[in-house]
């Protein structure tokens, strides 16, 4: 390992248009996408990467766009820097769990470089934005010369470091649909220190109807080989009256479902304990943010 210089030889390309980028992907083997470089360059130095070319997507105008869509929805280009997203007023007001995830990530300097597209496409089980994007029903737009695919975020992650992106595809945009009224959301993460990759993270977005849960989406990070949408748990909560007992019962179920591992950051055992605490906290806070009262 040598972090002083990058010894590996590769082509560096910086297309100026989306078409050019897709052409490069179609014609070149082993292209790695450079958006912010906060994961790619580190990997290049520490473990080496099988790569013939590095394609810098920062010259493609469409990918650096951050626009409001119908209702209060949002479309985020895959090369938009994390710090730009966190400063967008709609993110803080409508997608508070995403905002919290962004603010929990690394340091200001890393957020000035890193991108949402990169955080997702890197497909780390610990990706902080994955949970919020899943829970807000985010759609990932994958483009290639053969066309456009729209993949729901919960289906995007396959395993550690592996996503649904095919070799000739580029993650172009992340679409977050409008958020309904009476919705509350919470992202909670625990690291070793504040600026850290998660020991475990939890996201929940709850839409409330009176004292009942109209819909709920929950996701866990650093809790399995990929960021996981807790589908059965989420769906089983639909129509239930929110109570403290329900939360306790739910977080116990979640601790039973997740499949964490021992690693540098903590142990599987601790992760199972911790997720109960942060999930319970997230459920009650999200419920309260949705305007609900906990009984």
């Amino acid at each position: 390992m040598n972090t002083m210089i990058i010894e590996q030889e590769f082509e560096y390309v910086k297309p100026g248009s989306l078409f050019e980028a897709l052409d490069i992907l179609a014609q070149t083997n082993n292209v790695k996408i450079y958006a912010g470089g906060t994961d790619l360059i580190v990997k290049l130095k520490t473990s080496g990467i099988n790569m013939d070319a590095m394609m810098d997507i920062n010259g493609i105008p469409e990918l650096s766009e951050l626009t409001a869509s119908g209702g209060n929805g949002l479309v985020i280009g895959s090369a938009v820097k994390l710090s730009r997203i966190e400063k967008h007023p709609a993110v803080k007001s409508n997608y508070s769990a995403l905002f919290e995830a962004l603010m929990s990530m690394a340091s200001v300097s890393v957020r000035n470089m890193g991108t949402l597209g990169g955080n997702l496409a890197n497909a780390s089980p610990a990706a902080d934005t994955a949970g919020p994007v899943i829970c807000y029903k985010g759609i990932l737009e994958l483009m290639s010369r053969s066309g456009i695919r729209e993949v729901p975020a919960e289906d995007f992650f396959i395993s550690s470091g592996v996503s649904a992106i095919r070799p000739d595809e580029l993650l172009t945009r992340i679409k977050l649909p409008a958020v309904n009224k009476n919705t509350g959301a919470k992202f909670i993460k625990t690291g070793r220190v504040k600026s850290d990759i998660a020991k475990v993270s939890f996201t929940v977005v709850i839409e409330r109807e009176g004292s009942k849960i109209k819909s709920c989406r929950a996701a866990a990070g650093s809790a399995a080989a990929k960021p996981v949408y807790l589908r059965t748990v989420s769906e089983s909560l639909k129509g239930r009256i929110m109570t403290r007992e329900l939360i306790t019962e739910t977080v116990d179920r979640i601790a039973g479902i997740i499949e964490p591992i021992d690693d540098q950051r903590t142990t599987a055992e601790y992760r199972k304990e911790l997720i109960k605490v942060i999930a319970a906290d997230a459920f009650s806070k999200a419920w309260s943010l949705s305007g609900g009262k906990l009984i």
């Binding site: 040598n2 002083m4 220190v193 504040k194 850290d196 990759i197 601790y270």
Partner: protein, 783 residues
């Protein structure tokens, strides 16, 4: 040594190097670039223990690289650390080894025209290893039949056979421990374990070495002592010292990591001499992680206590796993014994049994405290246990038992001792009790809820320098040159290095105060080994106390010469003259005592002396302190423990620092706050773990070596730092040190506060959330 009311000493003055540092305009070693320079890179052992059978450098050389292996080096056996006298220094290493003894140990090195080529050439080196069985655990290493790292090493000039990997045994016995324990009403025994942690100084180690046309060599290197570097390079390169010039550079902190000559420096120098060209060799962070660690320690502590609250005897058994090379574990054991012996009186009955063991791990070197934070954690935790179990007030107990004024303090092991003359212990404990509301703390059993708070305290110290009235195992003196320029400004030339704590600023202030010139009129000259006298090293919290004393001594001599010269010019006797600072003139002024109308500025005097061809008003000398006064600290800590997550946070802290006169109070407070942060890391977060194959589990990357930042600190308004009102009679203007003392008692104070919060005693560091939850569960099961 009186302090005038408008004194610079004690005034808050901005750091003179701060603007340039903040703007990135200061040149560190890595900023040195020389035309025609080559770039070096080091091949490091992937094996924890392996004999190097051969190294084939032909392919690398064919690429144009200059290579250096064990075959090329001068096989001088040395210890990188040279602050101890030669007869108390074990020597076990060469520039490059014939046998690799830890993962990451330099095995060979190359230099090439570009850094890229150097790294490519490195890959072409073919090393044939004979892989040997490694040993990582110190207890395993001491067993018969364990793999042996060494056969013979040297203590001074005497060959020493190594048995069972035991590098050093150091036993100290004073008073009558057996009688002391017999006299005790209660005996307390506990086992403590402290892990290896990493210095994480900002600057990774590096060197630039330039062979000169006259056969000499110029060296820019990360160094805490330029003279130690010069002397070692002289032995290794076989050159007279007059042909080796080591430049003093600013450097990015140390925490002790460059007290010794850095491993890379002789490698770089040897490489440059072989290449006949300048070579720059800068190491990466992950290389640095394999270069040096803090000493871990395993302690078994036994304390005897009488029913009236007196410690009657103390026995510490210490086992230290110091890794693959000796960077003076002998001195480390001696110092650890000294910190232990100097904390309390124990009726004079002290026993210390220390063993330091070789293992196939990164060598350990001094890190802020040299055993002090380690043993302080054990003793100050024990004192808390004793007070809890025997019903003593923790503050009264400490006041009754601590070693204070009139008693002996061991400044650097058993051979360096002096009598304590100043102490802020009482002030800090008595005032701190009120300020922090210590008496309002409640018993752990009376607390409930998922979030619990507790209050704890611990006291500690460190030495200021390593000099006693009698010479001992450690060398300690410093040097200075001061000259008055013809405009009244002053040049100060000092070999003392500044780790970033503002040491050199303090030295400037001391010179300015003695000579009564404005601070802006003092210039800090570039210094190198060729134009300075010897200074042992900026270590042992000695920069201001010892380096400052040398500056004070020389400045007083210069002042004498100044007054003498002024006397000749003014037709007055020197003893009838005084020098005072005139801020309006921006100069020092010499005047007749009590008759300010008859005066000359310092500039006029120096200028006249030049015109009359009398010479420069200047002086050079060395100076040795004859005391090693302790600088005391006390930490009051509030800890908050989340019983559901095990996470510990620190809502509030009160820190007392006793540095004698604070030359710059803001910098003293900065050291105390910064060190609290480091102690927080040591206590709650940091740990260097090995994977069983001799590799660090974090691979040397910061990503998985978490240190607390400002986010983990109490908020600014909840950090109360107070400087004790003391004056050290032997220090320059009453000053002693603070740097290492600032860390000593942080660990125990936090652990004691955690105990007060949840009733669980931690005997191992770090106290991670995982460890807290485990202990909470264990406690719940026991109920």
């Amino acid at each position: 040594m009186q302090i005038l009311s408008d004194s610079l000493i004690g005034a808050v003055t901005p750091r003179t190097d701060a603007p340039a540092k903040a703007a990135g305009r200061i040149q560190f070693t890595s900023d040195i670039n020389i035309p025609g320079m080559m770039y070096g890179a080091i091949l490091r052992s992937p094996h924890p223990h392996a004999e190097i059978v051969s190294i084939d450098t032909s392919a690398a050389e064919a690429m144009g690289a200059v290579c250096l292996t064990y075959e090329d080096i001068n096989p001088v056996l040395y210890n990188e650390r040279s602050v101890s006298i030669p007869s108390a220094t074990y020597r076990d290493r060469t520039v490059l080894p014939k046998k690799a003894r830890h993962c990451g140990e330099p095995v060979a090195t190359v230099a090439a025209d570009t850094q890229e080529l150097a790294f490519k050439a490195l890959k072409e080196l073919k090393v044939t290893y004979n892989i040997l069985e490694p040993v990582f655990d110190p207890m395993e290493a001491m067993k018969d039949g364990a793999p042996e790292l060494y056969d013979t090493i040297y203590l001074g000039d005497e060959a020493v056979k190594i048995h069972n990997n035991i590098g050093v045994i150091r036993n100290i016995d004073e008073g009558d421990c057996d009688a002391g324990f017999k006299a005790a009403d209660r005996i307390f025994e506990h086992h403590f374990e402290l892990e290896r942690i990493y210095h994480c100084q900002l600057e990774t180690k590096g060197a630039v070495c330039k062979p000169e046309p006259d056969g000499s060599i110029t060296v820019w290197a990360t160094a805490q002592s330029i003279h130690a570097n010069r002397q070692l390079l002289g032995r290794i390169l076989g050159l007279p010292l007059s042909k080796i010039n080591v430049k003093k550079l600013p450097f990015g902190g140390s925490f002790g990591s460059s007290i010794q000559v850095n491993t890379v420096t002789p490698i770089c120098a040897s490489l440059a001499m072989k290449a006949g060209r300048p070579v720059k060799l800068i190491t990466s962070r992950e290389e640095d992680f394999y270069d040096h660690h803090k000493y871990p320690a395993i302690f078994d502590v036994k304390l005897g206590v009488s029913n009236d609250g007196r410690l009657t005897a103390a026995h510490v058994k210490a086992v230290v796993d110091f890794g693959a090379h000796q960077i003076q574990p002998m001195a480390f054991l001696g110092c650890t014994a000294g910190w232990f012996a100097s904390l309390y009186k124990y009726d004079g009955n002290i026993r210390f049994d220390g063993i330091a063991v070789y293992t196939n791990k990164t060598p350990c070197c001094a890190m802020q405290g040299y055993g002090n934070p380690q043993i302080n954690f054990a003793i100050e935790s024990m004192v808390d246990i004793i007070c809890e179990e025997m019903g003593f007030d923790p503050i009264d107990f400490r006041l009754k038992n601590y070693r204070g004024p009139g008693e002996e303090f061991w400044g650097q092991g058993p051979t360096i001792r002096s009598i304590i003359k100043s102490s802020g212990v009482e002030e800090s404990l008595v005032e701190g009790r009120e300020v922090f509301g210590f008496d309002e703390r409640t018993a752990p059993s009376s607390k409930n809820g998922d979030i619990r708070r507790g209050i704890g305290l611990a006291r500690g110290f460190h030495t200021s320098g390593t000099a006693g009235p009698k010479e001992g195992e450690v060398i300690d003196y410093s040097s200075a040159t001061i000259k008055i320029n013809e405009d009244g400004s002053v040049d100060l030339i000092t070999p003392v290095t500044d780790h970033g704590g503002g040491t050199c600023d303090a030295l400037k202030k001391i010179a300015a105060e003695v000579l009564q010139v404005p601070l802006e009129m003092i210039g800090l000259s570039p210094a190198e080994t060729m134009n300075t006298g010897y200074d042992v090293c900026t270590h042992a919290t000695r920069g201001v106390y010892c380096g400052g004393a040398a500056v004070y001594h020389v400045a007083m001599k210069v002042k004498d010469k100044l007054l003498e010269t002024a006397g000749r010019l003014m037709a007055e006797h020197a003893y009838n003259l005084e020098v005072i600072r005139d801020d309006r003139l921006g100069q020092g002024v010499v005047q007749v005592k009590g008759y300010p109308l008859k005066k000359m500025t310092v500039g006029e005097i120096a200028r006249q002396a030049q015109i009359m061809s009398w010479g420069t008003i200047a002086y050079t000398d060395s100076y040795r302190q004859r005391n090693c006064p302790p600088c005391f600290t006390t930490h009051f800590v509030e800890a908050e423990v989340n019983l559901k997550t095990g996470v510990i946070s620190i809502p509030r802290v009160l820190i007392y620092g006793d540095c004698g006169t604070a030359v710059n109070p803001d910098l003293v407070k900065g050291q105390l706050i910064g060190s609290f942060n480091r102690g927080l890391g040591y206590t709650l977060y940091e740990r260097l773990a090995y994977d069983g194959r001799g590799r660090l589990t974090n691979s040397g990357l910061m990503t998985d070596y978490k240190m607390p930042t400002i986010s983990e600190m109490p908020s600014v308004e909840d950090i109360d730092v107070r400087i004790c009102h003391t004056y050290e009679p032997s220090g320059p203007f009453g000053a002693k040190g603070i740097g290492e003392a600032a860390l000593a008692s942080v660990q125990a104070a936090i652990a004691n506060a955690v105990y007060n919060a949840i009733g669980i005693r931690f005997f191992k560091l770090p106290i991670t959330p995982e460890a807290v939850l485990k202990e909470l569960k264990k406690k719940a099961r026991e109920r």
